[in-house]
Amino acid sequence: MGDLTPSQTVGPFLALGLPWADGPFVVPEGTPGAITISGRVCDVAGDPVPDALVETWQADEHSRFDHPDDPRGAASSAVPGFRGFARCPTDAAGEYRIVTIRPGPLPSPGGATEAPHLDVSVFARGLLDRLVTRIYFPDETEANGADPVLAAIAEPARRETLIATEAQDGGPGEFRFDIRLRGEGETVFFDV
């Protein structure tokens, strides 16, 4: 791996290059069965981070990826417009929001089953490399309990930082997932 190009921070001006008008939409708004995941990115002081970018990547409702490296074969979702990927810059309050569908569970190379999840990348000024985390669902207790990635987190209490919550005052399918970059309640980040 000796010749890789190193990572550098996205800096404070990513808005000049990275936001897409349709970025937050894994599926178009109004798609039947769509869910929203929103949350706040905050720093060591608990202050909102207004210049971050949150990206997500996930399987479709049938646990499939439209990708040639999936050994089960590339398969496209039955949900019109599904693309698996979302990208949302945070606003002045540190908030992001994406619109998606619930992914299915996944087989893993070790034979275990991964609970439904989204992979997340966080980019921001102050981060010299992206941070990788995962979003799991609060009503998948049994599947989460058998998930090999959650199980790899040594302290069970920290696993809770990866479980979304049902949004207070929200309707069905509205989830919250806050990301604490540093300090008390720090989100678990992965070396992938």
């Binding site: 490296d69 720090e186 070396d191």
Partner: protein, 240 residues
């Protein structure tokens, strides 16, 4: 669910990327996690990734000098290179997004308060898809260096921000490209956050007289290398 799922395995970039906690880069001390990263086994979500972009890129997006009524001020440059993985294979059909300051070192962004002029003919963002050989090409102007508040008399070396997807979640990379011979390298904590001096050099483009377009634009070349699939695993699979 099925057993015996065999996935490509992407090698880990040990020792290449900057430590997240780099105290000389002050804002890392507000935002970079304190806890060690948890090693994650690579599964289907990690070895796949968004193969997007072609539908949102036009040929004009790769030329940052022709978007407005007039031409931007500055040194016009042609910037080209290849995107490869660490096994030397070209990464074709992948989206590259760039953004940069103008020739005076000013970003066209409300947060930038550097008292240098905005160029009404330059917005500073571009995108393109790599071709079948992994090649990309942009036409732009050389960005200027600019001061920032990290430490007294701090200046960023001239740079262009690059964002790449590759073909897998593991390959996602955001970085910065620098220009050869910049006298500001020695005092820049972001450039120097990369611990290995040889790795730092891999962020610096080369001037190319060959790529220079006579009477029109200077040429620079910069190859980008993303994580490849682990060679050991390939040998194992070939033997199997």
């Amino acid at each position: 669910m099925s057993d015996g799922l065999v996935l490509p395995l992407y090698g880990r970039p040990d020792g290449v990327h900057p430590p997240l906690n780099s105290p000389e880069y002050r804002s890392s001390q507000l935002r970079a996690p304190l806890r060690p990263l948890v090693p994650m086994p690579q599964g289907l979500t990690e070895v796949t990734g968004p193969l997007l972009g072609a539908e949102r890129v036009t040929a004009a997006d790769a030329d940052l000098t022709t978007r407005h009524a007039g031409e931007p001020i500055g040194e016009r440059i042609v910037l080209t290179g290849r995107v490869l993985d660490s096994d030397g294979r070209p990464v074709s059909g992948t989206l590259i997004e760039i953004w940069q300051a103008n020739a005076a070192g000013r970003y066209n962004h409300p947060v930038d308060d550097h008292p240098a002029p905005i160029d009404p003919n330059f917005d500073g963002g571009g995108r393109c898809m790599t071709d079948s050989e992994g090649r990309y090409k942009f036409v732009t102007i050389k960005p200027g260096p600019y001061p920032w508040k990290n430490h007294p008399n701090a200046w960023r070396p001239a740079h262009i921000h690059f964002s790449l997807f590759g073909r897998a979640f593991t390959q996602r990379l955001v970085t910065q490209m620098y220009f050869p011979g910049d006298p500001l390298f020695a005092q820049d904590p972001i450039f120097n956050s990369v611990p290995d001096p040889k790795a730092r050099e891999r962020m610096i483009a080369s001037f190319s007289l060959h790529l220079t377009v006579p009477d029109w634009a200077l040429g620079f070349e910069w190859d980008i290398v993303l994580r490849g699939r682990d060679a050991t695993v390939f040998e194992t699979r070939a033997d199997a």
